[in-house]
């Protein structure tokens, strides 16, 4: 249905960020928390609108903007993720000297880029949305201006991100040159009708995969990930590890669902993705074994998870992909929340040795962090287990047995480094005293929500699976 209402989620997010920018001028430094509350209120409104618009299929601008259930589901989920990140940052930004009002404004602008990308099937618009998201991300990564590592992260992310963008744009140009359209369905139609496969279009598609491969951090385009994740302020790292990845995979879903189904010859692209997928799982997990910095471990773990998600793309199974992304959001943000909990004014504890004895000293943080880690490793009864189970079982049904075997072996390796953190927390004597600021209700709220999400999705996923199936079916 053609309606102006289709713009409302995007408009609300942009309005919220502009309002935050405006109010920032009038607020004193100690009152910056109000900006967080305002952002949260607008995020709640945006989420409410997503629920209201369910099944309405609003569209605007000649179908350039389509709010189908899939985009609504993910705008809701990623607005939730942004809300979590804002809650996590409320204490953090005053502790770690990043207390700028623009912090929230940039987060919201990044979310608006996400909303743009999710609600369109035109690659040009997706590109513009990606740029909004990326430019906000570059600035957010460098917000800890007094910290060398943070500036390094910003520069690295900016250079490699622009490089990836160049690949993406070149790919888009080639696709446009061969199919005379930027719309995904017309581009896929070109692959259907063209009897002798055009090399130009194939290279274009390959370059688009590379461009998005940078954003979702798959091997061999993952080089920036550990440094950027380590240098960026920790709540922002949580944001990076979830949001761009989820959006990138949704774009992949929108491209590859019709591509697998209709294109004449999918072999070349299939095997390229297959190799990337195997490399991502193996390299991500193996390198994570040697890390001792918590943020770097989680960075490599997020690379490995991109590999498992690629299995879902290759197995042509959209619902398990969406379910995995949903679970991944809760468990990864939860894990980062636990990492953020171990900090006080001017100091963050990020080395593995700092975690010795945490489990007994701060039982709540210890228990929840352990559950998130077990979920990331894929133990029942957590959501992480079910997510992996769905992905692997559909892959077996699609005759991707070698991929599944590699995936299972890789996640066995991953058990080692996840459990090592738990072993440190419960079975090691603390080598040095650490002291953290325990009073942080917003953070504990996030821990609680993520714990609830991980367990709910692991024990009783029925409701959310019904929603996911509605979202997927609306997209065809």
């Amino acid at each position: 249905m053609n309606s102006f209402f289709a713009l409302s989620p995007l408009l609300i997010i942009v309005f919220a960020s502009l309002l935050v920018l405006l109010l920032d001028v009038f607020l004193k430094k100690e009152n910056k928390n109000y900006l967080a509350y305002i952002s949260l209120i607008f995020l709640v409104i945006c989420g409410f609108i997503c629920i209201k618009f369910w099944d309405k299929n609003y569209s605007y601008f000649n179908g350039n903007l389509i709010l189908d259930n899939l985009s609504l589901f993910f705008i809701f989920i990623l607005a939730l993720a942004t809300g979590f990140v804002i809650l996590l940052s409320m204490k953090y930004i005053s502790f770690q000297d990043v207390n700028y009002g623009e912090f929230y404004a940039l987060l919201l602008l990044a979310l608006s880029g996400v909303a743009i990308m999710l609600s369109s099937s035109d690659l040009l618009i997706i590109f513009l949305g990606l740029e909004v998201l990326s430019i906000c991300s570059y600035a957010l990564a460098g917000l800890k201006r007094t910290d060398e590592k943070s500036s390094e992260a910003a520069i690295k992310y900016f250079l490699l991100g622009s490089f990836a963008t160049a690949f993406l744009v070149y790919g888009l140009a080639l696709l446009y040159g061969s199919s005379h359209s930027t719309n995904i369905s017309s581009i896929i139609n070109f692959f259907v009708t063209e009897s002798d496969l055009s090399i130009m279009a194939l290279i274009g598609l390959g370059l688009v995969i590379i461009g998005f491969g940078f954003k979702i951090a798959v091997v061999p385009f993952h080089m920036w990930t550990p440094d950027v994740y380590q240098g960026a302020p920790t709540p922002i790292t949580a944001f990076f590890s979830v949001v761009p990845k989820a959006v990138g995979f949704i774009v992949f879903l929108r491209i590859f669902t019709p591509y697998w189904k209709n294109a004449l010859n999918t072999q070349a692209i299939f095997w390229i993705l297959w190799v990337i997928c195997v490399l991502t799982m193996v390299v991500g997990n193996l390198v994570a074994l040697r890390q001792t910095n918590l943020k770097r471990i989680l960075a490599y773990s997020s690379i490995a998870h991109a590999g498992y998600l690629l299995i879902a793309i290759l197995a042509r199974d959209n619902s398990s992909l969406v379910f995995y992304l949903t679970v991944y959001l809760f468990m990864n943000i939860g894990a980062f929340a636990a990492v953020i909990a171990l900090s006080r004014k001017g100091k963050e504890y990020l080395e593995l040795e700092d975690y010795a004895g945490i489990g007994f000293k701060y039982p709540w943080i210890g228990v929840t962090f352990s559950i998130f880690l077990l979920s990331l490793a894929g133990f029942p009864p957590t959501g992480g287990f079910l997510a992996k189970f769905y992905v692997f079982s559909t892959a077996v049904r699609q005759d991707l047995l070698p991929l599944v075997i590699i995936g299972v072996l890789a996640s066995l390796i991953s058990v080692f480094y996840y459990l090592r953190i738990i072993v440190y927390m419960y079975m090691k004597e603390p080598a040095r005293e650490i002291e953290i600021a325990i009073e942080n209700p917003a953070l504990f709220l996030v821990l609680f929500f993520c714990l609830y999400g991980v367990l709910q999705l692991g024990l009783y996923p029925r409701n959310i699976l019904v929603l996911i199936n509605q979202a997927i079916s609306s997209f065809f």
Partner: protein, 164 residues
Amino acid sequence: MGYFLFFLLAALTVGAVLGMIISKNQAYNAIFLILAFACMGGLFALLEAPFIAVVQIIIYAGAIMVLFIFVVMMINVRSGIPAEKKKWTIYLSLVIAVVLIIELILSIKGAFTLPVSTAIIKAGPTDLGRLLFTKYLYHFEITSILIIAALVGAIVLVKKKEKE
């Protein structure tokens, strides 16, 4: 004539970009880049898009390059990558270059066999404006969000720190 001009400008563009990469002096790099931008403006003019051609020259070759040259003059970086580290990158780039040359030859071969499109594309300022506010309205509006994001990001990274 069209073909001749196209290949002349294309070769000049590629040559200028090559010169920009090879030359070690930053000022020369910038000037080579101006040449590349100017040639690209010529390419746009060949495609019957005079407005974009002019904009290309005014904005890129004019305004942005002046900024570049100012920055080069102010920062004055001299040191390049030490020679011994470069060796394996040279071999790697040789391989890539060979692949690119093959691709280029293939595409040139293809270009001669393609039928020349006879449809005249109108790309004057009026047509461009009309397109921007009809077919590409959403793209246009999103670009404004992009610019806000870039502005806010740049300002927050460089602004003076408030006193505690």
